[in-house]
Amino acid sequence: MSAARVGVVTFPGTLDDQDAARAVRLVGAEAVPLWHADHDLKGVDAVFLPGGFSYGDYLRCGAISRFAPLMEELIPAARAGLPVLGTCNGFQILCEAHLLPGALTRNASLHYVCRDQRVRVESTDTAWTNAFEQGQEITLPVKHGEGRYVASAETLAEIEANGQVVFRYVGGNPNGAMNDIAGIRNEAGNIVGLMPHPEHAVEELVGAPSTDGLGFFTSILKKLVNA
């Protein structure tokens, strides 16, 4: 059987694409580079939208990227069930593209923040978190200036009621996000977005002092192999 193929998208200004691809390979999957200007998903089984400053984060984070040719392919595919993970800038793009509800705004501190953050896994019922335990606390780095999750009162109530909150900050909220929300999913659970960076927590030697990020990649592998 050929290895699971996970697409890793590069926009102009994407920064964590190599890191994401490395993490995909670490669990034995194939990382397929996807280029923003192509109308081509290359038949991948899942897509990782990595962090960075696509288009310089000018205007609003993710606002310009959402219109890229690749996104014209990705948006309908995701709606149809393709597993998609967006971290940081990738999360912002997913919200701007209305694949996930709400929006990400300037940190309440008004400062960029890079730190090792504890988060609690609130939903294991997704393509990207099925290898975690419900309620498990993991450590992942956050690094962003605009990561404060906001949504209207109705939306917030709805995603809480539906169990769409996937990750919550614990031990301090780095950006002032509503309800300490660090990550959410769509109703179907194939699309997940979060501010923390699993791809920086997969090796002992480098990155954050944890390898908790590996769970994301083993989750998607499990999901694809079982599918």
Binding site: P12, D19, Y58, Y112, R115, V202, G207, A208
Partner: protein, 750 residues
């Protein structure tokens, strides 16, 4: 509008030119006339005035900097030495590293955010122009007193600028310094370092060989950035109409720079670049003259081809513009289509603006008229050289005589420890470093608060040759030490950076430096400069690490008051197996703690004298370079054999601060005992010392290694518990250390 063409210059030989407004001296102007055999045109004057400025020509520092070459230790590691955009060092297995530190002090005072941001941008382009992929940045910062009003304006802006630009480029920030002293009020220091990686056989140089090859300008368009002086030329002399005063501030676009990085790397990989140069200070003037001077000697440029952001720019202004995010390449005509296609892929505008010739002349045209016709080497290489007079400052002897011996010693050493630990210079810099991305690219093995930053090599470039190696980098400098004795101060700066690299297990290999001083026209400042350079060159020879490049920043003064002389030194080291890196501090319970090196009562310029008494006088600690070398040998060998669990160098604040920081690393306490006079043992700043944590069963082997290299090794105690305990002297819970250490900067800066 009349253009001041060469023809016009020939027919109006006596027309007065505003050379003085451009900072040029009469004799320098006379030399230009002698070189050209006529008066220069406005554009030629623009070129000579910026190329012969202190910033570009090093006219006051050159005679001293020579020592870095003449005294350089023999080193097989040096692939490209001083004089290029950045030095290149062989780090083994076919890999090379290039690194350099540069100042952006004055712009960061005027507009802290943009000044600091463009400082990062500039040094990154230097590294790119060597053919390397930039892989990390560092920043060495000096501000006025932490509580001074202007510091609250400057520091947050500078940090935000570095953070925004570096983070957007996707370059991890792996270290630096933040120090405060009232001497820097009005003259903050922003020194940015970038390190890049390349294969040994892929070095690119700034040269324009091959007549017929095309000259391509690519990246951002050219606007009226940072051309203050040039507007004099463009308006006052030739035209009556008054031009708006042009801004001195350059604004950076990190997004464009990120595209430039990826674009350049793809251009290199496609082998379509013959020569390349970044555009920094002096923009097009500098790039064209330097490329032409190092190539076949001639170039023809049509200035009308330069893409402009502001169509009203005059040629003199185009030549002097410091618009950011631009590069210039020399490309074979047959490679132009491939070159342009790669630029288009990355949305990077690129334009052919000229051609390499074999005439030995740099010729530029504007609307068909020749406005520049000069031998490029005369602008790029044959600038003026000054032997500026210098003498010891009048108050130096008195300063050295005012030793800290008379200062009252503290009764309560616990209180002193907490006072120092919570003082702005020694407190946690997390308020700053939490704004920097240290993880991006996933090669960061060590970053703040480690003694040195460390990166693994193997994965740094996708698909690269595997290697187990890593590189480590540290920057250090202590203005107070250098004020007391600039010769020793420069040596101590090198010694500390060298030591910081060695404690992580990496072998120090090469040096970069940024020399921040007052006005070279002041003989007392010039003495400080001469002494610092002499000290650094001598120390490099003793330690066997060559200077590969650097930067001089003069005129850091307000009125007649100069900053403390502040040589900032960066050291790069290599670790053969990056998995054997030694983390900073105490990483486990039950480890033996030892102090390496001897302690004398050395308090001149110390943090204690500064914080407790506001005192600066006497002499700095002795720089014992032989001892530093032995210490480093032991540390690197011990790491190689896997004997060290943790380490930490001793510097500002002495053993007391080192112990506290080692406990804070993982929140693990320690119990230690002193053998000498407690105050001296705890707070002296004697150099060539380090703290190590060793597994008990490895201790004998480690002690034997120290003995073999004659490095004093004193068992102090053992790690563990919730407190730092110095028996019979003090006891502080680690949580209290933490609150004191982390609370200080947020309390000031919010």
């Amino acid at each position: 509008m009349t253009t001041d063409s060469v023809k016009r210059a020939e027919s109006t030989p006596d027309e007065p030119m505003p050379f003085a407004e451009l900072g040029m001296k009469q004799d320098e102007y006379d030399r230009v006339k002698e070189i050209l055999g006529r008066r220069p045109t406005g554009s030629e004057l623009a070129i000579y005035s910026v190329m012969w400025s202190e910033h570009c020509s090093y006219k006051s520092s050159k005679v001293h900097l020579k020592q870095f070459a003449t005294k350089a230790p023999k080193s097989d590691a040096l692939l490209v030495g001083m004089g290029e955009n950045a030095g290149v060092v062989d780090i083994g297995d076919g890999w090379a590293a290039t690194f350099k530190i540069e100042s952006h002090n004055h712009p960061s005072y005027v507009e802290p955010h943009q000044g600091a941001a463009t400082g990062v941008g500039g040094i990154v382009r230097d590294i790119m122009s060597m053919g390397a992929r930039p892989i990390a940045v560092m920043d060495a910062l000096r501000f006025g007193g932490a509580h001074q009003d202007d510091t609250r304006r400057v520091l947050p802006g500078v940090v935000e600028g570095i953070s925004h630009y570096g983070n957007c480029l996707g370059l991890p920030n792996i270290g630096g310094e933040v120090a405060f002293d009232p001497c820097y009020i009005g003259n903050p220091l922003v020194n940015a370092l970038c390190v890049g990686l390349l294969r040994k056989d892929q070095i690119k140089l700034a040269t324009a060989p091959g007549p017929g090859n095309k000259v391509v300008l690519f990246g951002a368009s050219t606007g009226p950035d940072g051309i203050g002086g040039a507007s004099v030329l463009a308006s006052a002399t030739f035209e009556d109409e008054s031009q708006a005063k042009r801004p001195a501030v350059q604004v950076g676009d990190p997004f464009m720079e990120k595209l430039l990085i990826e674009c350049c790397l793809e251009l290199y990989a496609a082998d379509v670049v013959v020569g390349i140069q970044d555009l920094g200070a002096a923009g097009v003037s500098c790039a064209t003259t330097e490329l032409a001077a190092k190539g076949t000697g001639g170039m023809h440029v049509d200035l009308n081809q330069v893409p402009l952001r502001d169509p009203s720019l005059r040629p003199e202004e185009i030549l002097m513009s410091e618009s950011q995010e631009r590069m210039m390449a020399v490309v074979r005509p047959s490679d132009i289509p491939a070159f342009m296609a790669i630029c288009a892929k990355w949305d990077v505008p690129a334009t052919v603006i000229g051609e390499v010739t074999d005439t030995g002349r740099l010729v530029m045209t504007w609307h068909g008229e020749t406005i520049v016709d000069i031998p490029p080497g005369t602008a790029a290489d044959d600038g003026p050289v000054y032997e500026r007079p210098f003498h010891e400052p009048a108050g130096q002897a008195a300063l050295n005589a005012d030793t800290p011996d008379a200062l009252e010693r503290p009764a309560d050493l616990r209180a002193t420890l907490l006072q120092l630990l919570g003082s702005p210079n020694l407190a946690s810099k997390a308020w700053v470093t939490d704004q920097y991305d240290r993880y991006v690219r996933s090669n960061t093995v060590l970053a703040q608060p480690a003694d040195a930053g460390m990166l693994r090599i193997s994965e740094a470039i996708a698909g690269a040759e595997p290697t187990t190696r890593g590189i480590a980098l540290s920057t250090d400098g202590n203005g107070r030490y250098a004020k007391l004795d600039p010769y020793a101060g420069a040596q101590l700066a090198l010694a500390e950076a060298y030591r910081n690299v060695a404690v992580t297990g990496a072998k120090p290999l090469a040096v970069t430096n940024c020399l921040n001083f007052g006005s070279p026209e002041d003989p007392e400042v010039m003495w400080q400069f001469a002494e610092a350079v002499r000290g650094l060159a001598d120390a490099c020879r003793t330690l066997g690490v060559p200077v590969t490049g650097g930067n001089v920043s003069f005129y850091n003064q307000t009125g007649s008051t100069a900053i403390h002389p502040t040589p900032v030194v960066g050291v790069l080291g290599v670790i053969d197996d990056v998995a054997k890196r030694v983390p900073t501090g105490f990483v486990a319970e039950g480890l033996r703690v030892a102090l390496l090196g001897d302690t004398a009562a050395e308090f001149g310029g110390s943090e204690w004298a500064h914080v407790a008494h506001g005192h600066l006088g006497g002499l700095p600690p002795e720089a014992d370079l032989e001892a530093e070398r032995s210490l480093a040998t032991v540390l690197v060998e011990a790491a190689r054999r896997g004997l060290l669990e943790g380490s930490h160098d001793l510097s500002d604040g002495g053993l007391a601060i080192a112990l506290a920081e080692a406990c804070l690393a993982r929140g693990i306490g320690a119990t230690v005992a002193l053998s000498g006079e407690p105050f001296t043992d705890l707070f002296s700043e004697s150099a060539a010392r380090a703290l190590v944590a060793v597994r008990p069963e490895a201790f004998d082997e480690f002690a034997a290694l120290c003995a073999e290299h004659e490095v004093p090794c004193y068992g102090l105690g053992v790690t563990g518990g919730e407190s730092l305990v110095v028996q019979d002297v003090l006891e502080v819970p680690v949580s209290e250390l933490r609150d004191t250490h982390t609370g200080a900067l947020p309390a000031i800066f919010g």
